[in-house]
Amino acid sequence: MSRARLLEDGELDPPRHFSVEEAVLRCVDEGVSPTTLRIRRSRPALWIGLYQTPEEDVNLTRARDLGIPVIRRHNPGGAVYQDSGTLCYSFFFPKSFISDRWKLRDAEELYSLFGAAAVRALEKFGVRAAVSPVNDVVVAGRKVYGSAQVELYSAFVHSGTFLLSCDLDRMAELLAPSALKYADRGFTNVRDRVINLSEAVGRRVSTEEFASVLVPEISAAAGFEFEPGTLTERERETAEYLFQKKYSTREWTYREVSKTARILSGRARKGTVTLALSMEGDRISGVDLRGDFLVPESGAIEALGRQVRGSTIPEAVRIVRSLPLPGDLADTISRLLEEQS
């Protein structure tokens, strides 16, 4: 059996938790991290899917009152509430494994592969569980496990969450799913739809106890023997970068500022000008000017990039006009900038 890393980094802080999650994915894509099973826990938090809107999918007022943070995940799916009674795992691997190692037709079949492992782990506790296509496992018709997956270039991660002894009342008051989603399934609220393993078993099942049963089942399903390991230096650096740039920022979760990135080229008399422009709202957050034009004073190009950052388009045009650039080059850059407004 091939070997893979078992990672229990214990990162409970939601933004850092997801920074590590994406860092491992990126490093697997770069070929510098091994196939990894990460056992995950989190402080109480609301995790929303990549494409969700916090205002629509969670009760923000209640979350604020309770001091429960909301964070956008890197993968799609619905909003979930996490606390010390939930246990998650993520299995990171090269995407080629789907066809080459597991002989699956497509990534969708991974839900069945790992869903079956989840069922076997739950059944070790004496409950009857069943896969509920596509990505859930149910006990007595109520969801006890959900999964999601995402790929990034050559890397893939399949993740699952088990409800062991989660505060379901708190979950019910914090999640705000559309009534329609539940109405067509015959449920009236979140509490009717989900179940803790502890409730099904009739005793408290800790995350540690469940993890000790789950890991061998995933090992059998995936065909890997897991050996405990730690984050690599590269993963730590990447996680810190993602924490600073992404997961610690309010903009990432709430998407309050629209972001625009556009590449446009125009013809100047002595060459082609390519302008890569990034905007946050109505402000320029970055500009990169490239092309085969000739500029007598090369410092003017660097000054342009530096000076227009944080400015609006009209302000940037004025800055371009004030720099010692050949007239037709300044005209072309100005025109490209003005096309953005």
Partner: protein, 99 residues
């Protein structure tokens, strides 16, 4: 004509490769090509083409759309294939370009 790309936020080194290709494409067809970059999970500041919108949530990172049609998903596109597709779509004329 529009070319759109969905890349990771913040971009990975492979995303930078794609951006480099799109730079090259833009420079090859100045005044004609408009390249919009969407960052996964971020609120886009412009309206994508209908073709791009219709495959929303099914898209993988990265993906590149030329004139509203997917060219590559989940991998860095082949440069020659990208340039050939752009040429093909340009040859079809502005009447066939997605707004």
């Amino acid at each position: 004509m529009r070319v759109e790309a969905l890349i990771a936020s913040p971009p990975t080194p492979k995303c930078e490769l794609i951006l480099g290709m799109l730079d090259e494409a833009s420079a090859a067809y100045p005044e004609t090509l408009r390249v919009d970059i969407y960052l996964a999970g971020e609120q886009p500041g412009m309206t994508p083409t209908r073709g791009y919108q219709s495959s929303e949530k099914l898209k993988r990172v990265p993906c590149v759309f030329v004139n509203g049609t997917a060219l590559a998903q989940g991998e860095v596109p082949d440069r020659d294939r990208l340039m050939a597709r752009i040429r093909e779509e340009l040859d079809r004329g502005p009447g066939n370009w997605e707004p």
